[in-house]
Subunit: 93 residues, 2 copies
């Protein structure tokens, strides 16, 4: 895979946003793994921007994080759903 600067920018930006969203909800990689179906190592790679991620993966991750896909691409956004969320019930799998 030839990695253009453009692609690198996006993979990093998207990864950071996913991690921010996950942390904002107090989820570990394993938590999100359970919620999304992606394995923890895969999530780690994606959040660090080392993967050429597929659309299907982004869709399932945004669903698991209860956010919208376009949020990952918006130019300037407030990922700030900082603390008080409706809340995941981690026992409900």
């Amino acid at each position: 895979m030839i990695k253009s600067p453009q692609l690198e920018e996006w993979t990093k930006k998207i990864g950071q946003r996913l991690r921010t969203l996950r942390h904002a909800q107090g989820l570990s990689l394993e938590d999100l793994s359970r919620l999304s179906g992606a394995t923890a190592p895969t999530l780690s790679n994606i959040e660090r921007g080392t993967r050429d991620v597929k659309l299907s993966t982004l869709v399932s991750l945004t669903a698991a994080l209860r956010t919208e896909l376009p949020l990952l691409f918006e130019e300037s956004q407030n990922t700030d759903q900082s603390s008080g969320l409706p809340g995941y019930d981690l026992d409900d799998d």
Copy 2:
């Protein structure tokens, strides 16, 4: 690949937008193939929404179409650069 309704929505929406953008610039699949590096069959599949496309592909396509990646994901947008474009010079590759 398990295809959720969500994913299907996005692949179709993105495909349609890409095709609209391409047509708006009077490009054939082969034209865009030359500009983007993706082959014409691949482009055909993506535009018809039959592919779980990778981020790198979307990045190169939006670059070739001289548009921005977030445009593919925006909720309501005007893809309407209908007719009179600055215009590609197909000889300049």
